[in-house]
């Protein structure tokens, strides 16, 4: 064979190998749909021809380690039974076990055991239709407590530390009322005790419900019903809370809130509040540092879309997606509205960057609910996950280009621009809540999504070779959970919180992907103002960091 022929053969072989490699199956999806043994919950939303709005709104999920055994457990909020039509006084059959909220304890083998009864969580209140959940250690006893929001009265369950909970709502004074949705614990006055923020959707009840639409009956748009105020409870430190909604200025603004997330956006040392509102401007409550808040959404550029349009704000997350050290805001919405990305420019100003972030392509045909910014591939950039489904269960009849059941969105972050990735499931569902955490403690973030009329979807991370670090904060002068701390690891920043998403509460541990780095530089600014630095921290470990008691 001549030299030229040899060369041709060689080139041909190389080309063939390229072709073969190019035709190879794509790498497996990062996330994988699993059905953990024992997790037998079904979210009963009970849709009726009456199209009661509450039917399409539940339900919440919390990932928490209620018994401090190091494994994340799952708490799921159920809806209730609705009849056609509802009678007064409203009852949702919550005494029937099908409609209970459920607590599942994770076992060492990754299976779950339903511990609802022994935990004392079976009674969710017969007049309550369940919505969401918030988790926080409000009494700093080292055990996470659970707050359940309802259409009806909310319930605070104190964790007794022995595997049981006690309903302390009456004593604590946090029942609220009306239609509560997302809630979250945070420490707005940096007194070391977790306060509680509760969003309320609208002034609505089944008696005043309407059936909207023309040819097809549908759930009514939010503006059909009057707006409602949100609630801020101040933690008195003695097991009681004081409703400071009026005094703080929170109740000065009526909205149609669905989501809430916390972060200190202007770096003044006080945690601010972002509230996603449905069909109106979004609220950014700036913490004035004196127990009051000022709503600054419009002037900060975080109230409307880039074109000045109102958003159908549903879920929200308040974390730094582009690693510039400042918390940004993402809001999930209805189709034809791109999910909102409000980039924090510093100086208390946000710019709308949905198109730059790539969400124009990814989200304009979808409806988003639960949302999280988590580094699923541990490359050092927080990725975007959204639980998706249209709000109308008959939307295909009204607009065949839209879909009630959708796949979740997983979008990997490439230096601030998101690109679609395989979400790990090919089964479209009517998803609502989403909580994030490392269920199997492998250093790779997992997701659990709630589904209307069905079991939750557990999406386990397949993992990989990159390094990671998971930090648990142990506040001493600050609240014990360390909520509100700003933690910086190798150029990434996370604000410590379990809140955000929609109706849900995530793993309070802070997860960081370290890519190829096997060591991490950790900087923590605690809510107390204490700064703490840890140098050359070994990667691939779960690290508890205790706040120094003295400066």
């Amino acid at each position: 064979m001549k030299k030229r022929e040899l060369l041709r053969t060689l080139v041909g072989a190389v080309c063939l190998s390229v072709l073969v490699l190019g035709a190879a199956a794509p790498p497996p999806a990062l996330l994988e749909l699993k059905q953990p043994r024992g997790l037998d919950f079904v979210l009963q939303n009970s849709p009726t021809p009456q199209k009661y709005l509450i039917e399409t709104m539940p339900g919440g999920i919390a990932l928490l380690d209620y018994n401090n055994d190091g494994l994340l457990d799952i708490f799921l909020v159920n809806g209730g039974r609705l009849i056609d039509p509802m009678r007064m006084p409203e009852s949702f059959d919550r005494l029937d076990p099908r409609y209970w909220n459920r607590l599942y304890r994770q076992n060492k083998d990754g299976s779950f055991t339903d511990v609802t009864v022994q935990a004392g969580l079976a009674n969710a209140g017969d007049g309550n239709y369940g919505m969401g959940v918030a988790v926080g250690d409000y009494d700093n006893d080292g055990y996470p407590d659970i707050y359940v929001t309802n259409y009806g009265k909310n319930i605070l369950y104190h964790n007794n530390g022995d595997g049981t909970f006690t309903d302390v709502t009456a004593k604590a004074g946090v029942a609220g009322g009306g239609w509560s949705v997302s809630a979250g614990f945070f420490d707005y006055d940096n007194d070391g005790k977790l306060d509680l923020f509760v969003t309320r959707y609208m002034d609505w009840d089944t008696k005043r419900s309407k059936n909207c639409g023309q040819e097809w009956h549908t759930y009514c748009p939010p503006e059909t019903f009057p707006a409602a105020t949100n609630i801020l409870y101040h933690n008195n430190g003695d097991g009681t809370f004081t409703d400071v909604s009026q005094r703080s200025g929170i109740a000065a603004k009526k909205g149609r809130a669905l989501g809430v997330a916390f972060a200190d956006y202007d770096d003044d040392g006080f945690t601010d509040i972002f509230v996603s509102n449905d069909g109106m401007q979004q609220f950014l409550f700036h913490n004035n540092g004196n127990g009051t808040f000022t709503e600054r959404g419009m002037e900060a550029g975080a109230a409307l879309s880039e074109d000045g349009r109102r958003l159908s704000g549903m879920g929200t997350v308040f974390q730094d997606y582009d690693n510039d050290g400042r918390p940004d805001i993402i809001v999930t919405e209805l189709p034809r509205e791109i999910y909102g990305v409000y980039h924090n420019e510093g100086g208390g100003v946000f710019t709308y960057r949905s198109l730059e972030a790539g969400l124009g392509v990814l989200t304009s045909g979808s409806s988003g609910w639960g949302v999280g910014l988590e580094d699923f591939d541990n490359d050092g950039w927080k990725d975007l996950f959204v639980a998706q489904s249209h709000v109308l269960d008959n939307v295909e009849q009204i607009d065949p280009s839209l879909h009630y059941k959708e796949l979740p969105l997983l979008a990997l972050n490439h230096e601030g621009r998101f690109e679609r990735a395989d979400p790990g499931t090919s089964v479209p569902t009517a998803s609502r809540g989403a909580a994030f955490g490392d269920l199997n403690n492998d250093g790779w973030e997992d997701v659990v999504v709630t589904v209307l009329g069905g079991p939750p979807q557990v999406l386990m991370n397949r993992g990989g070779n990159r390094h990671w670090l998971v930090i648990s904060l142990r506040g001493t002068r600050s609240n014990r959970d360390g909520f509100g701390a700003r933690v910086r690891v190798n150029g990434q920043t996370r604000y410590a919180t379990a809140a955000g998403s929609y109706l849900s509460s995530s793993d309070k541990r802070l997860h960081f992907g370290l890519a190829a780095a096997d060591k991490a530089q950790v900087e923590i600014v605690w809510p107390s103002g204490m700064h703490q630095s840890l140098r050359d921290v070994r990667a691939d470990q779960f690290l508890e960091v205790r706040e120094p008691e003295k400066p």
């Binding site: 880039e306 000045g308 349009r309 189709p335 709308y352 198109l355 124009g360 392509v361």
Partner: protein
């Protein structure tokens, strides 16, 4: 009107004094909006002077004012028997017949009276759609923005369009144009998969048909499939480089994908092809802002505001400018633009949708 007719008639005829007295009484009653009395008086005048065309025309007119169209027809027809060329009688009879649904009978009278608006409406009813469009357009030149005329012109055009499409579908059901027509129908019904299927079938038959790419691109854009939309709009632009709509659509599809520089180039091309289109200027500003070129964004938006001052797009533009100034740290300017945005929003609730 009755008074005018009376004067016209009086100049050419000499009625009996009694008939004239009733005629004048009718006119007075009509002036005072007492139509019933006017009808009684005009009827007496017509009985006393059965050859008085004026009495019959006035009586017909009074019935029309009372919206008693059926009763108006007799006197008006009688007036035309007496004076076949009397244009006011033709005009009124045409209206009376049309109001009762006798469009075909109304047409010759309205033609004689050169009452183009009513004639066009009658022709819509009788299915003379081409003529209807011509006459309604002529009437609209005399009475621009008349809602009834606009409605009927729209209806006539729509029916004419449907007629053509029905013929197309019946005669050439497998043609590219038939598939295109089907696709457009599905698009209106928001049945995007079906619209896509029909557009693709049309393109398979006649791949060089430029409107097909634009239509298919719009289907993809409506379904938020921006990469596919971009490809179709690009194909349209290649086939018709002078098509401003294609350039604008391509720019918008690129913008949705965050491809600011490419979007900017296409939008500038659209602006050159059809200058000063507000939508193009708005998107141009967005693309420039996305690129980080604040000066170009401001220039495009300011130009837009020099064209449109009070529209929903103007409100949007003020809001976009507020964002631009906020990012630049120009708080006072940002505040001013926000206020302008809010002012326009309050005065134009549609802009809030």
């Amino acid at each position: 009107m009755i008074h005018l007719l009376l004067l016209l008639w009086l100049s050419g005829q000499a009625p009996s004094s009694e008939a004239l007295a009733h005629l004048q009484a009718g006119v007075q009653a009509d002036k005072q909006h007492d139509v019933d009395v006017a009808i009684v008086e005009f009827r007496k005048a017509s009985e006393l002077d059965p050859k008085s065309t004026d009495a019959f025309v006035s009586l017909g007119q009074a019935y029309l004012e009372k919206r008693d169209y059926g009763s108006a027809v007799g006197p008006l027809k009688h007036a035309l028997e007496l004076a076949p060329d009397l244009l006011p009688a033709h005009r009124l009879l045409g209206y009376a017949l049309l109001a009762q649904g006798y469009a075909a009978e109304a047409v010759p009278h309205l033609e004689r009276a050169q009452e183009t608006g009513a004639l066009g409406i009658a022709e819509v009813e009788t299915g003379q759609l081409k003529e209807a469009v011509t006459h309604l357009q002529a009437a609209l030149e005399q009475q621009p923005n008349d809602p009834d005329l606009l409605y009927y012109l729209g209806r006539a055009s729509g029916l004419l369009s449907k007629q053509s499409i029905d013929t197309l579908l019946a005669a050439y059901p497998d043609s590219a144009r038939a598939h295109q027509a089907m696709a457009e129908g599905y698009f209106v019904l928001r049945q995007m998969p079906q619209a896509e299927r029909e557009y693709l079938a049309a393109l398979k038959l006649r791949p060089d048909t430029p409107e097909l790419h634009l239509g298919l691109g719009n289907v993809y854009a409506k379904s938020s499939q921006w990469e596919k939309a971009e490809a179709e709009f690009r194909a349209q632009s290649k086939l018709r480089p002078g098509d401003a709509e294609a350039a604008y659509s391509l720019g918008s599809a690129l913008l949705q994908q965050g491809k600011a520089r490419a979007a900017s180039a296409e939008l500038q091309r659209a602006d050159r092809l059809r200058p000063e289109m507000p939508e193009t200027l708005y998107s141009l500003g967005k693309a420039a802002s996305l690129e980080g070129d604040a000066a170009a964004a401001e220039k495009a938006w300011r130009k837009l505001l020099s064209i449109e001052k009070d529209s929903a797009l103007a409100a949007q533009t003020h809001f976009a400018l507020a964002g631009l100034y906020r990012k630049q740290g120009k708080s006072a300017e940002a505040e001013r633009e926000t206020q302008e945005f809010q002012r326009l929003q309050n005065s134009n609730p549609q802009s809030q949708q």
